[in-house]
Structure formats: C-alpha cells, structure tokens
Amino acid sequence: MNARRSLAERLVLGAPWLWLIVFFLIPFAIVVKISLSEAALAQPPYTPVFDLSDGWEALNRLGDLSLSAYAGLADDWLYAQAYWSSLRLAFISTLFTLAVAYPLAYAMARAPLHLRPILVVLAVAPFWTSFLIRVYAWITILKDEGLLNHTLLSLGLISEPLHIFASDTAVVIGIVYSYLPFMVLPLYNAIARQPPELIEAAADLGASPLAAFWRVTVPLSASGVLAGCLLVFIPAIGEFVIPDLLGGSDTLMIGRTLWVEFFDNRDWPAASAVAVVLLGLLLVPMALYERSQMAEAEA
C-alpha cells in the first residue's frame, strides 16, 4: 500500500491533513504571532507585525516584534497566581475525581457480565448532556440559600448555612462532577480486562481480598489511572465555565483570565500570550497523554 496511491486514497488522506493544518496548526501560529504584537485601539485591536504578504519586506520588519504582552504577563503578579491556582485546583480536583471514580469503576468492572454495558452507558450518559447545564445544576444546590444548606439546616445538622458557593471548593466540586465520566471510562477498561483468575491466584497464594486488590488490581490498572488523570487534569487547567459560574471573585483560573483579557479588556496580544504560556505548561502532560492514547489505540 505504500507505493503509489490512487486519487481516492490521496483524497482520503489529504482532506483531514488539509483540514487539520488550516484549522488547527495555522491558528496556533497566528496566536503566537499576535502575542508578539502591540495592543492598539483599533479594529482588530492590535498592530500587525510580520505580515507575509509584504514579501521580503516582512523580514526587515522582524524588529517590530514586540515582547510587551509577555512583559505584561511577567510584571503582573496576578497572572502567575492564576497559572499557579489553575494548576493547584486542577490537581486537587483530579485527585478527588480519582477517589470518587475508582470505587465506581471497580464495582462496574466486577458487576455481572450482562449488566456491564448498561452500567457503562449510565456512567457515560451525563457526558452527553450539556456541560453548562450540569454546572448550572450545582448553583442551585450550593448557593447559601440553596438545596444543600436548606436540607442540612432543616435536619439540624448545621446551624449556619455553609458558604460553599462562589469559592474554590465549589470549583473543585464542579470539576469532579463534570469530568467524572472521563475518569470512570479508562479506569473501567483497565480493570475489566484483567482476568478474574488473577485474584483467585492471589487468594490461593494466601492474599486477603484487600491485599489482592492493592497488590494486583490497582497496579494492573495503572495505565487507566494515568489516562483518566490526564483526561481530567489537562482540560481542567484551562477550564472557563466552572470557575466563572461556581467560583468566587477571588477564584483565579487562567481560562477565565484569558476570557476576561479577550472579551472584557479587548487586549488580544495579552490573551494570546496567556494562551501561548498555557500551552507551554500543557506540553508535557499532553505529550504523556498522547503517548498513552496512541499506545492504547495501536495495542
């Protein structure tokens, strides 16, 4: 098949190539380019630099490239804090998601065979309903006068309403809830494909059920744990909707910072610089994720 390809084959390969290059690769190059421009009160709101349509002239204008957007990022302590707190909240949320997802995935994978497909659909179904709606649902639950406080107060468990809404805690709850299906599925796959004889063998060798779980099931599901954690951690860092709707005014997350720079401050070079630095932060986890996905797909 590696010899000369027919026209049809070239089309099948060429269409997605072209699409990805035009709508995925080139846009990133433009983000980098805009991040090196100066903000301006114009339409579009930046001074163009390095325009390829200038031909050779463009090379002479390389000196116009400006690092002012990055200097702004480095000067303002708020950006560093936003990056740091995004990493922190995404990390904490990933740990909690794992803690909630593992027992569920384990119970699903050990359920009777005929029930498993239905359980998988049930676990994934919420992913098919709107993300925005699922985050919105938590506003009515977590608000000071919301359903959770209402229930706890009327049960007499608390005397003062809990202030969860508009805090980092609410953001973590929102991320755990929204991303749970992404964690459950790879964990389920990693546990369900382990032959049950392994546990029997461990038991025959004298391991208690708990010891067999910790020393056989958990280590063998490591690939699923890694894939699930990356699937939650990476998008959670750049999350916008959850910190915006559930977080407080002091909840700094970089996705929201980018949004504010772009839509409220109309500072396109700053928003682009925020995106470039964020992408740089994500490079290592994304490479890890891609390796695990490709290994899984080609296995």
Binding site: L20, I30, L104, V121, P126, Y177
Partner: protein, 262 residues
C-alpha cells in the same frame, strides 16, 4: 467472586447517585410553581409556557440545531477519512504528526481552540457568523469521530476485505462495500457525538460566532449570569430529555443489532 458485593453495591449506588441527583433536582425544580429554588410552591408548567414565548431563546435554539447538524456532518466525513488513513494506510509519512493532531483537540482547553480559530478568521478577514461556528465545531468534532471510528476499524477482520479483493474488488470498492458498512454503527455514534459536542459548546462558539449567530448555550449562559431562574431549568430539562431519548433509542438499536448478529 461476588463475596464482598455489599461494598460494590454501595459504590455503584453512591457513584450513580452523585452523577444523577443534580440532574434530577434540576428537572424537578423546573416544575416548581415558585420562582425560588428552595421553596416548593406546587406543580406547575408555567416556566415551559413562558419558554415558548421567549423568541430570542427559540431563535438561538434553532441556530444551535442548524450548526450542530451541518458541523457534525462535516466532522463525520473528514473524521472517517482520518480514521481510514490511520488504520489502512500503514506507516505513511507524517503519521505521528497526523495522529498527534487528531488526539490533541480532545484535551485542548476550549479557550485556546476558540481564541486560535477566531484569530484565524480575523486574519483571513472572514466575517464571523453561522459558517465560522460550523467550521470550529467540525474541527473539534472530526477528532472525536476519528477516534471512535478508528477504534472500531482496528477491531475489524482484515480477511473480509481481502476476500472482497480476491473476488476482484478494487481496494476502494472493498472499503466502500465491506469495511464501511461494518463500521457504520461507530460512524453513526461519531456523528451523534459531534452533534452533541456542537450543541453543548459555549466557549468555542462564543469566540467564533458573530452578531446574529448566538447559539443556545450562549443565550443560556448570559441568562445564568443574570441569576438562576426556573426558565433555565425548563430549557435544561427539555435538552436533557432529548438526549435521554436519543440514548435510549441508540441503546435499543444497538441491542437489537447485537441480537441479529449473534
């Protein structure tokens, strides 16, 4: 094997309760006569009635449906091509770069995808509107389609295709009349996934849409920012019910399909 089944049942119960309770509460309170979320004021469908009088909301729902329909179609065609290339073209040149670009958008933060596509449209001087949102959603959707269809294609028995070619079919013909029909359920699932991703998306649409192409999530988001209203619960419940219907239908189809094969 089923000795400590109490623990496992508790895990299932707790896990699914956590997943479904918020959605159930949301739907329940869409039938609340009271405007307050915590006070149950009796059963009422008034919020559904006021929904259908909200012309802006209806218009944006219509826009979202059209965008999702077209973008999922594009995503399915291009994504299926990508899946075929990944499975059947061996180690072609640039395969690693190609598959990296297929997997990257699945986890790429939406704010980055949205911003970069918007800057592309501005650089090309393309006015933002219906088609820019379609292209943006198709770009995300095609990657999901490619992954779903690829997962199915690699499980297919190559000997069926080879048999078709032994009988004189060209490779293209074998692909069209043997492989693709076998992969049809996954292609359909890919279309469904791309459709749902498009109709749910707030962030990418916010960047790439223009005046007059406001999608439903954008409208819902701007209403949520103004405050929680039972009307949003009502529209949410309708959307959830629609997805549930599609899922149940798909499941029923899948089960009968499996019955036929067995």
């Amino acid at each position: 094997m089923s000795k400590p089944s109490f623990v496992r049942r508790a895990a299932l119960l707790f896990g699914f309760a956590f997943l479904y309770a918020p959605i159930a509460l949301l739907a329940l309170y869409s039938f609340n006569a009271s405007r307050l979320v915590t006070v149950w004021g009796g059963f009422s469908t008034r919020w559904y009635v006021s929904l259908f009088e909200n012309e802006q909301l209806i218009a944006s729902a219509w826009m979202s449906l059209r965008v999702a329909f077209v973008s999922a179609l594009l995503a399915t065609v291009v994504g299926t091509c990508a899946a075929i290339a990944l499975t059947r073209f061996g180690r072609f040149r640039g395969r690693l770069a190609f598959s990296s670009m297929i997997y990257a958008p699945l986890v790429m933060p939406e704010v980055i995808t949205g911003l970069s596509l918007l800057l592309l449209f501005v650089a090309l001087d393309i006015p933002r509107g219906f088609w820019t949102v379609v292209v943006a959603h198709a770009t995300l959707g095609m990657c999901f389609v490619a992954v779903v269809v690829h997962a199915r294609l690699i499980t297919l028995d190559r000997s069926l295709e080879e048999a078709a070619m032994d009988l004189g079919a060209t490779p293209g013909r074998a692909l069209l009349s043997v492989t693709l029909p076998l992969a049809a359920p996954s292609i359909l699932a890919g279309y469904g996934l791309a459709f749902i991703l498009s109709i749910d998306d707030l962030v990418i649409a916010s960047f790439t849409s223009g005046p007059g192409s406001t999608t439903l999530p954008m409208r819902i988001y701007s209403q949520v920012r103004l405050g929680v209203t039972p009307e949003i619960n009502a529209i949410s419940t309708i959307l959830i019910a629609m997805v549930a219907l599609v899922l149940v239908a798909g499941l029923a189809l899948g089960l009968t399909g499996r019955g036929r094969r067995a």
